[in-house]
Amino acid sequence: MEAGSATVIMVQFAIFARSLETGRGVEIDVTETIASTRFETVIGLEVHAQVLTKSKMYCSCSAEYASAEPNTHVCHVCMGLPGALPVINREAIELCVLTGLALDCTIAPFSKLDRKNYVYPDLPKGYQVSQYDLPLCQNGTLVFESNGEPVTAGITRVHIEEDTGRLLHRTASDGSDISLVDLNRSGVPLMEIVGEPDLRSPEHARDYLIALRQILRYIGASTGNMEEGAFRCDANVSLREAGSTEFGAKVEIKNMNSFRAVERALRYEVERQQGVLEAGGTIEQETRGWVDARGVTVGQRTKEAAHDYRYFPEPDLPPLALGADIVERIAARLPELPAARRARFVEAFGLGEPEAAILTGERETADYFESVCESAPAEGRSRLAANWILNDLFGLQRERGLPPDRMPVSADQLAGLLDMLEADQISARAAKELLAQLGPGETAIDKARSLNLLPLDDDDAIRTAALETIEAFPAAADDYRNGKKAAIGRLLGETIKRTGGRARPDAARAILEELLNSPS
């Protein structure tokens, strides 16, 4: 019983710690009601996710832009040089379709790319090759949990496009303001995932994003790394009178760079709009930017300045025909998705919902857990594995600064350690030390041997330790002899300690009892 409650506490701690990494805002009280009952909040999200490909969308330059020197991953295509022509990155198309399949979308049998025309120095061609009226994927759904309740949000479309370059604003040596253009990011593949206005609170928005990001990571379509800009979110927010089916004027919120920022920005914007409406004002359709440092949204441009992007079919690329056979082949790449896996973990491994949720948080963690469980059909293995992963491995992972998808020891190593525990070959304490010391390529059993962590089967050594203990704690020994049998606990602990923790408790107890009960 005691051990059980300790596990629960530890699991809750793990949930808290993990939620920090997945970006759940810990400062926000999720039970707080922000909108008055008069208004209903309506939110729809547009996510731009960098598609996880080696090369760019329309050329063979490396898509790895984050750490490269400016303008080193560029060529005639992604620099928009005269005469350059795009060639479609097939893997990017497949990953976009895979995303559509994971979101239960209809995959367009006939799709095309379009030019979206606008002028800015980070857009070298003066147009972005994107998709307009025939996106790759349409009409999907994302089911996620929010405050313990399942929420179903529609996915309007998922389409493929290319990223822009980046502008760096600097002050020159003469003090003038200059802007520098870095085109390493230009042409990196992006998916735009447009959600229906089905979200009803900032918490919905946050949980939608967490679920979406998790799916993208599961299927290998994106790293979903928000801080590095691989997962960007714009939100459309409006309020309407409760019960109304009409939408209010929507405000687009940009520049939210973390899950926490999304939730804070939306919370601010909902309150702002509510304030305007309650004061009898009207909401203008506009774009507002989130200013994280000040915790406010600020108007960016009005609809008068709205762009006419003059979309037209990209003549340099033939249309995309995705036959059923191609879609089927792509679908074969689809792994078990997080929600299904979570449910299966509860069902098949007897885990609690929170444990299952954490273990399936990253596909790699779930694979790891399953691999550790598969190696031993022994009953109780799954709980043991879950406890060790949640309590010890995650702790070690954080300590060593490893990313959430990388475990400090291999699944084989952990399985070996658990084998020893289950066979009672090692004490829990020694096992923890073993875990901390296990290096790459080492087996648990060999390492335990070399660290002298295996139990002491040498009765003479235990006897020596027991004799020393009895001599060192005569009062406790006398108590035992005088009938206070519980006094053996102290002596047992000390005896085991004197063997460096290696004596098995039952063996040590037997020897102590024998020594104490024999006439001296």
């Binding site: 005639h76 620099m79 928009g80 005269p82 030019r115 120095p121 070298p124 061609k125 003059r310 003549p315």
Partner: protein
Amino acid sequence: MSAVAGTDALHWLTASEARTLLDKKELSAVELTQAHLARIESLDPSLNCHISTFPDRSLAQARAADERIGRGESAGLTGIPISLKDVLVTTGTQTTAGSQILKGYESPYDATVVQRLHAQDAVFVGKSNTDEFAMGSSTENSSYGVTRNPWNLDRVPGGSSGGPAAAVAAGEAMLSLGSDTGGSIRQPAGFCGIVGLKPTYGRVSRLGLIAFGSSLDQIGPFARSVEDAALILEAIAGHDPRDSTSAPMPSPDICSHLTGDLAGVRIGVAEEYAVDGMEPGVETAVATAVESLKDAGAIIKQVSLPHTRYALPTYYITAPAEASANLARFDGVKYGLSIDGGSLREMYEQTRGQGFGPEVKRRIMLGTYALSSGYYDAYYVKAQKVRTLLKQDFDAAFADVDVIVAPTSPTVAFPIGARLDDPYQMYLADVFTIPANMAGIPGVSVPCGFADGLPVGLQFLGKAFDEATLLSVAHAYERSQPWWRMHPELGNEI
């Protein structure tokens, strides 16, 4: 008529004649190149065919060609002097597209066609003049001066590929490459009395062709004979994985189809190709050509291309629309002309305002308008539907005939300046050539006589990817006539 029959001069040889002499070592590539470079030096001050020349490099290429020939490894175009329209990007020299906005711009890569010619050790003698961004029908829109027609220096050479056309007609180059978006190869070929071929869309890689209307642009050759055009087409055609619109087909075998036999060939004549404003001299020359085709055993059939009259207006929506996007990259940020304006917007306005000429600006405005919200469906979308109809017209016609014959242009070369103030009249020069671009089919212009001392072009149109039939008919016609051996008398024969 100032035409003179062929001489033994090196600059009037055809490429196939030169090939034989080069391979027999009766002529060296260096001699041949020197002859053409000398021709450029003496004639270009008046003709202005070339924007850039690089004689040292040309001669170095000629020496490499001679070495290759010496090893007995010559390819079809090894050592042949070729001029490149200045919309084809090349390393080592500027590529201007006839525009101030690209003055001094050096491409870091070569166009696919340039690479393929280079792989045969062809010799490049220069980058030739063009209407700015290939927008025009006379080369008068070049910001590097007008090119003059070698047959009459007061006349335009046609356009937009006026430079490469006049260069071949004047003996400055043995072959040249141009680009044809609405007739920019065939029309100047007709005006200059040489052969000009627009291949099927997708036949030749567009990589490295500075785009005008991407769905219409196609690179093709100018030559003194159909055989020469076939020779260079074989060298430049064939799938290029770096151009997604390039057809996944190998380069066609054409030269072996040039039999010279017209017996039983079905040739269509379209009633819709008789338009107002057609010059009588052109009408007569074309009618005579059709008669001679018949005499040679061809079966002449009437065909109908009912949507022809919509080709010109829909072209002037489609091409400018695509151009308005294609030319957005010339913004002063990355390369080419850049005029600091204090603010970003000012820089754009100054750079593009000063870098582009009036015709380019006109077409950017036209195209931007056609794509604008509220007009897109009425203009761009409708134009694409008409394009489908134009294509269907040809599909139906080609069910009955092997090729279609038509005038290349309604007029002969017009005087310099005559149409500058009337863009619509200028656009009409392409009325017979535009349908092939809209439908993606190949077309070739061959000389068919003279009117008022100026060459008249005869156009053959073929089925998509059937350049073999198209060129075999054109070749048979050409060889039955004296015209292809006529050269302008330029007064200073070398």
